[in-house]
Symmetry: C2
Subunit: 345 residues, 2 copies
C-alpha cells in the first residue's frame, strides 16, 4: 500500500509500505476512504516534539472494513467505520468510565508497530472497542464523508472542551484557538445552547470560518489584550466558560484571565509545558477540566447531528489533497494557507 | 476591648484596642461570643507568608449584633450571627454568581483597617451581605455555638472541596489533609453520599478524629507512597474524587496521582506556590476545581444539619482557650497538640 511516513522535521514522504495484516484475533483491517492532517501532526512536522521517524502518521480516518480477526464480533467486512484518534479496548475501567482515550490497553495511531491514518490501509487493534460503525452510509456518500471524518477527532475534541467546561444554555463562551478544534468548539458551544460565543482569532480567513461555525463575535487581540477585550465586552465580569484549544502557556493564561469568578475552563489543546497556577484558580474559583477527548464516547451523540445537517463540522476542511500530495498538505497547513487538509487515498 | 494582635513570626499578643464603631452606614458592630484559630492563621504565625504586623488576626466568629449603621436592614441589634471568613456586598456579579468569597467589594478580617475575629468586638463592613442571622438560637445555647462557628469557615470550606469536586452518592473519595478542613471535608463527602471516604493521616489522634468524622479508611502514607496506597486499595483505578485540603505541591500531587482517569480534584488548601501541570490533567482527563470557599453561600444549606445534629463539625475543636490565652492556642496548634483551638472572649 501507499502511506505517508514521517521522517523528521519538515520531512513527510509517501512511500510503499507492506499491506497490514491481521496480527491478533481482535484486529481489523480498514481500507481508508478519507483521512486528514491534524494540527497536532504539525507539532511533529515542525520538530516541536521529540518524535523520531520513520513512523506512520495521521490519526483520523474513515474507512471500510476489509478483514477482521476471529474475535471481532461487532463489525464485519464491508462496514463503513469511523476510527477515533486512539484505539481502546472498551472493557477496562477507564473505558467503562467513558474515557476510552485513557484506555489502559489503548494506543495511538502511528506509534511504533502501528499504522498511521494517512495511508491506504490501517491495521486496527481492538477493533470492537475502537471502531464506530455507521449504518446506512457507504463510501459513495461522498458529501457526508468529511463530516464523519471530523468525528475521528476535531469535532469530538471541540465537544469535549465544551462538555468538560460544562457549557450551559444561555451562557457566554470564549473560544481560544482558531484551528479546526477551536472552530469545532464554537460549533459545540452553540450546539449546547450558548447564547454568545466569542471566537479569538486574528486571521481574517479563520475569523470568517469562526462566524460560519456560529461565533457571535470575534476578538482579534492576543494575550493580555485579549483578556482585556473579553472583560470589556462582558461588563468587567468575564465569560462563563472559556474553551482552550491550543495548548500553550499563553492560550491557557488567556482562558484563565478571561473567565469569570467561578467560571470553567475546558481545555483540549495538547499542553506544551504549561501549568495552571493554583493561586490563580484558588483566588477566583476557576475550574479547569478537559484532556484527551474520548472521541469514541461522543460519536454516538454527535453523529445524528452530522447526518441531519444540524451541525456542519466539515467546514474545517478548506483544502483537499490526494494521498500522494500529503507533503504539500502539511506545507499548506504549516504556512497557514489551509486550516485543515482533507486527504483522499 | 481586648483583641489578639499579630506582630510577626511566633508573636501573637492580646492587647487593649479601641472599641470598633460604625464608620459607614453599611457597618455593624458584633460582640464576639466564640472565635477560633485557623490553620491558615498558622501560615502567618510560622512566618510562611509575608504578613507584617501589627494587625488584627482571626477570621472566624459567631457573635451578637450590638449596633448597626443606618443602611443595614436585614440584621438588627441582638441577632445571633455567623460571620463568614470574608465580607461581601451580596450584590456584585461575583456575589450573585454565588462566589461571595470573590466579592469585588469584599475583604478579609484582619487586613489593614479592619478588626480580626480573635477579639471581643468586630466592625463588620457590608453587614447585610456578610452576616448570616441564626434565628431561634442565643448565646446561651453554648452547646450549639461551636458547630455554628465551623460555618464561618472550616465546615463550609470542606463542603466546598466536596461540592467543587462534584462528589456523588456511592462514590469513593480520598481526603488529603487531616486538619480541621480535611476533617470537615470527610464530613461533607459522607453527607453528600460518598460510599467510601479514605482519609490520609499519619497522626494517630487525627486518624481517630477522621474516623469520628466518618472516614471509612485511613491511609498513613504520604507522597508517592500515598498514591500507591490509594491505587492499591482501588484495584489500580484511583478514587473518583480527591479533596485537597492542604495547599502544598505535595498534597496537590497526591490528589492528582490518586484520582482515577476522568476523576475530579476539589481543592481548598490555600496554595503555596503550587501549580497543576496541564500535561498531567490532560493525559488522564482530571478536573481541578475549587478555591476560596463562598461560606456565605453555604451556611443556609449546612445550618439545618448542624442544628439537627445530622453532622457534627464541632469535633474539629479539640482545645478550648480563653481569649487571653490566644498565644497559647497558637502554640498548641503550631506544635500539633491541638487540631483547632476554640477561643472564648
Amino acid at each position: 500500500m501507499r502511506a505517508a511516513v514521517f521522517y523528521g522535521e519538515g520531512d513527510i514522504r509517501v512511500e510503499d509500505q507492506p499491506d497490514p495484516i491481521i496480527e491478533v484475533p481482535t484486529d481489523a483491517i480498514v481500507r481508508v476512504v478519507r483521512s486528514c492532517v491534524c494540527g497536532s501532526d504539525l507539532w511533529s512536522y515542525r520538530g516541536a516534539n521529540k518524535r523520531r521517524g520513520p513512523l506512520g502518521i495521521g490519526h483520523e480516518f474513515v474507512g471500510v472494513v476489509e478483514d477482521t480477526g476471529s474475535e471481532v464480533t461487532d463489525i464485519k467486512r464491508g462496514d463503513l467505520v469511523i476510527a477515533p484518534f486512539t484505539w481502546s479496548c472498551g472493557t477496562c475501567p477507564e473505558c467503562r468510565y467513558g474515557f476510552q482515550s485513557v484506555c489502559r490497553n489503548g494506543g495511538f495511531w502511528g506509534s511504533p508497530g502501528s499504522n498511521g491514518g494517512q495511508g491506504e490501509q490501517v491495521r486496527v487493534p481492538l477493533a470492537d472497542g475502537t471502531l464506530y460503525r455507521v449504518d446506512g452510509i457507504t463510501e459513495q456518500d461522498t458529501d457526508l464523508l468529511p463530516g464523519l471524518l471530523t468525528l475521528s477527532d476535531v469535532m469530538c475534541t471541540g465537544h469535549h472542551a465544551a462538555v468538560s467546561a460544562g457549557v450551559t444554555a444561555g451562557s457566554t463562551v470564549a473560544v481560544v484557538g482558531d484551528g479546526a478544534v477551536g472552530l469545532s468548539a464554537v460549533i459545540a458551544a452553540k450546539r449546547l445552547g450558548a447564547a454568545r460565543v466569542i471566537a479569538l482569532s486574528r486571521n481574517p480567513a479563520r475569523q470568517e470560518l469562526a462566524r460560519a461555525a456560529g461565533a457571535d463575535d470575534v476578538i482579534a487581540e492576543r494575550g493580555d489584550d485579549a483578556v482585556a477585550a473579553l472583560l470589556e465586552t462582558t461588563d468587567s465580569v468575564g465569560v462563563d466558560f472559556a474553551l482552550e484549544c491550543v495548548g500553550t502557556e499563553q492560550s491557557m493564561s488567556t482562558a484563565l484571565g478571561g473567565v469569570r469568578a467561578g467560571g470553567h475552563v475546558g481545555f483540549v489543546g495538547v499542553p506544551h509545558g504549561s501549568a495552571a497556577p493554583m493561586s490563580t484558580l484558588f483566588s477566583r474559583n476557576i475550574t479547569v477540566s478537559g484532556g484527551v477527548a474520548p472521541a469514541r464516547a461522543y460519536i454516538a451523540e454527535l453523529l445524528p447531528d452530522v447526518l441531519s445537517g444540524a451541525i456542519h463540522p466539515e467546514i474545517v476542511f478548506d483544502g483537499t489533497f490526494a494521498l500522494e500530495e500529503t507533503p504539500a498538505a502539511y506545507a499548506a497547513m504549516h504556512e497557514r494557507h489551509v486550516t485543515k487538509a482533507l486527504l483522499i487515498p
